[in-house]
Symmetry: C2
Subunit: 116 residues, 2 copies
DNA sequence: CCGTCAAATCGTCAACATGCGATAAGCGAC
DNA sequence: GTCGCTTATCGCATGTTGACGATTTGACGG
């Protein structure tokens, strides 16, 4: 652990109470949405990134690069995939970018998988 | 619904009580497992197939082909992907093959996704 | 303004995914 | 055996993914 409590521009892990997602979990649109999300998760490096972000042990892109045995450009691409799927958000923090999971998308993914 | 209650060589939808999965939901192996499963789910046609099988509206390969706007060979390939990931099982039933979801793998997938 | 550091983007390449038609293989019925 | 039906596999074309190094962009600090 880097330090006891590190302030960061990202949202707190525990969301402050959000409205439930009313979109259907079945049907063609839901199928495509699930496929899109699952595809984004469908790579070990991206799973690892999601876990890192969920645990908040890393948030800044560079830290993630250090954790993974991949080049910086490759990590950036994986982050872009996750961002494209809406699973992750990147907040610009000076010269750095702080990535964090998008809790709503994660809940959505869990709901869709749960509907299987 | 095709008929009231259709007998099939597949297992009942409600599993007869299985031991819980003791494998960890984190770590490198779990990450790779999740990535593998998610990758298999990461295609709309395969999501649709999983839903069809879960609802038991189709079980035989040919029925699935009829439901999807895809060629028979393509559906067969998707089924093979799902089978390779362990999400689906194919029981030979005379000249046909009856596919059904593998409840254990589905539970495993849900557990892994839930661990995110 | 410039350096400097972080991150994204570009260019390239090998590997894989996806689709199809065509063909092979397996199983029952006859 | 052989026919017919069902499913799997093959071969191929096309597009996407994943990896890397190299380069560009962006944001401070001086």
């Amino acid at each position: 652990m880097p330090s006891a409590l590190r302030k960061s521009p990202c949202e707190p892990v525990t969301a402050p109470r959000e409205a439930p997602d009313l979109r259907p979990v079945e049907g063609k649109a839901a199928d495509e949405e699930l496929a899109l999300l699952a595809k984004a998760v469908g790579h070990p490096a991206r799973v690892q990134i999601l876990r890192l972000l969920a645990r908040r042990e890393s948030c800044v892109c560079g830290d993630i690069v250090d954790e993974l045995p991949l080049a910086q450009s490759t990590v950036s691409q994986h982050l872009e995939v996750l961002r494209g799927a809406g699973l992750v958000r990147g907040d610009i923090d000076g010269p750095r970018v702080c990535y964090c999971v998008e809790p709503r998308a994660m809940r959505r993914l869990k709901a869709l998988v749960g509907s299987l």
